[in-house]
Symmetry: C2
Subunit: 393 residues, 2 copies
């Protein structure tokens, strides 16, 4: 297999390392022919080029690994490669979440493979496992703790009693969080992973707007203290339920009992779970980010292309499930500052709830309520984003 | 695919159910042609027979599912099927642990498939995942909580403070433990699963005598109370380490921090884990026993045979790793009755240890010591099996 690598950063160089160092006899016949970098200055190894046509116009290269990230020019490069009759393997969750249907269909038309194991859960063999489970069962539940930055912030807050801002800075220093952490802490990164997973399960391109997405930005030490008193840990949890031709997806902070594996997921580890009627619950834990785990997932895709894994069915889009926003509900912990108590409590008028003691703030726990209704009420209260923090309990 | 089913008990009937009820479009072309039962009285459905030749001599049947359990006549049936040029899928850990090399080699010679996903971890897709990881990494660590009976007993003892005997009776009433629970509580059942997993990793038939195997028979409420004070849970843990051409395997009670997923494994759930250089740690959680999860794993094997999964390499035995019994060590909790204190303490003369407070008994925790040496010392003390209980800590 002759490979053209788009992007020679952390993940790309990991792929190069696994292949060029012959870490496994199975990759002996693989060769990274060319690797694309952005500027002439970045060409630090002989296989590197900053001229994309050296990859796309090279008939020897049969497979493209896209490890650049972002939508552009990844989208253009992937479609160009598929149109040129080259297989594509990508780790890029943003572009896959947006264009999975299009890429899958184009690959099918062109008779090549499009694979994206590394785009969700990094090294966790999740996509393949989900598709394998679907050979027998309809998958009716998907769950996951998918984001290292929030894992780190929440663990640090729990263990050290520090503020969100202090822990965010730690995460940035450790290289976990970006300078602009919005995508991580507001759930956008996780949303891409949930879109991809759910799109596979419902065989339909799920849209970002269909996913209720709430992050951890407003969490405070008093919340963690309360959760600790319940002997629970909080994680940013992504979830999809698929039933009776409808699906519903949400991303929000969620409490787990200490003996649930989700509660113990730390740092760059991810957990992905599914439920099917005959298999029951399956959960997968592994490193969701990092050079070699992510590169490993990419090379696994390359091995499946090379070996001809014909035992997984083609993923045919064309599912007719509809998004049903009110399918999911839960009991919620709602903590708010005394300043906004009047507005917030008015918005929850008529909802069964119990006041709970939280240091320096007001809080209540609701009876089970549809997730969409909870957030509608909070929005209708017209309070600031930082004035209220909500967790499923 | 035309299937002959050997054994129509819990697992066999689950396979029949998934296939005959067309639970998935992918099994539409599968048919269970005949199912073997032991006596004419058991022939309660038209497809059943008590005449094995109706299966083995039927040229229409291309694949045999063995779901009888035990060594005989499963061994004879499996070799007969392979010799007759039929694929074999089995859930039988005992016969696979003993004859994996022989079955794999015979299948290869005969140009048919031999598969056994359900034999370890039931519905957990563990065997395939292990073999997939080995496409890139050498797997240097395997771990697992593999036994529902001991999970149940240990959870019940922890939660209710009851004695081992009382919890064993509960497990028997719930259908988890056999009338003769020896295989479960002394680690024999787990040993079969560890033999199979390790044999795959080292590409060599591992022998039962090579595995240090210790069960939970002597555990008492005072032990659980002490573990609780450490905020840890105890599970019967199977482990193999493979390094520098040597392997070492042990099965013994082991403590886990509450936030490790092993600590939370309950009832019929299993966890299987591996470590490889590039992928790091992967863990899989699912139902290790039960009708439909186990049947699901068997049908997954059938789908791989039918679809032609050519992306997994052949498992070629011929590995030359040697068993190195002293590779594994740990710190141990040793609890014993006052009656045997003199003998036991003399046997641990010269070992660095710290006395710990345990209700109604004596106990100490050792500094790190080779596992084999610890057990040699206990054996040399010449005390009764029920007089001392040991857990890695």
């Amino acid at each position: 297999m002759k490979i053209g690598l788009l992007g020679c950063g952390v993940v790309g160089s990991g792929v190069y390392e696994i292949i060029s160092q012959n870490m496994s006899p199975m990759v002996e016949d693989f060769e990274v022919v060319k690797g694309l970098v952005k500027t002439p200055e970045e060409k630090i190894l002989p296989y590197m080029t900053n001229d994309a046509s050296e990859i796309f116009d090279n008939p020897e290269i049969d497979t493209i690994v896209e490890a650049m990230g972002g939508i552009h020019p990844a989208y253009e490069f992937i479609t160009r490669a598929l149109n040129a009759g080259k297989n594509v393997v990508t780790a890029n969750k943003a572009v896959v979440a947006k264009h999975l249907n299009e890429f899958t269909t184009l690959a099918e038309v062109k008779g090549v493979k499009f694979m994206y194991e590394a785009s969700v859960g990094g090294g966790v063999p999740w996509i393949k496992s989900l598709r394998q489970a679907m050979r027998i069962d309809e998958v009716t539940h998907i769950g996951g703790v998918f984001n290292g930055t929030t894992n780190l912030i929440l663990s640090e807050m729990e263990e050290k009693g520090l503020s969100f801002d202090e822990c965010l800075k730690t995460a940035q220093k450790m290289g976990y969080a970006e300078a602009d952490p919005t995508a991580d802490i507001d759930g956008i990164d996780v949303r891409n992973k949930l879109i991809i997973s759910t799109s596979i399960a419902v065989k339909k391109q799920v849209q970002a707007e269909e996913i209720m997405t709430y992050g951890i930005r407003a969490i405070a030490p008093c919340d963690l203290k309360y959760f600790k008193s319940l002997n629970k840990h909080v994680r940013l949890y992504a979830e999809a339920v698929i039933e009776d031709g409808k699906y519903c997806c949400r991303i929000e902070p969620c409490l787990f009992d200490v003996d649930q594996p989700e509660a113990g997921i730390k740092l760059n580890y991810n957990i992905c779970s599914l439920y099917g009627k005959t298999i029951g619950t399956l959960k997968y834990i592994g490193q969701g980010a990092g050079k070699l785990p992510t590169a490993n997932a990419i090379v696994q895709d390359l091995l499946d292309i090379d070996g001809g894994n014909t035992a997984l069915p083609k993923l045919c889009f064309g599912g007719d499930a509809q998004c049903g926003m009110s399918m999911l509900e839960g009991c919620y912990y709602v903590r708010y500052s005394a300043d906004v108590a009047d507005k917030l409590e008015a918005a929850f008028d008529g909802v069964e709830k119990t006041a709970v003691e939280v240091e320096g703030a007001k809080a209540f726990v609701t009876a089970s309520i549809p997730t969409i209704s909870l957030h509608d009420r909070i929005e209708s209260a017209g309070v600031g984003v930082m004035d209220v923090f909500v967790t499923r309990i």
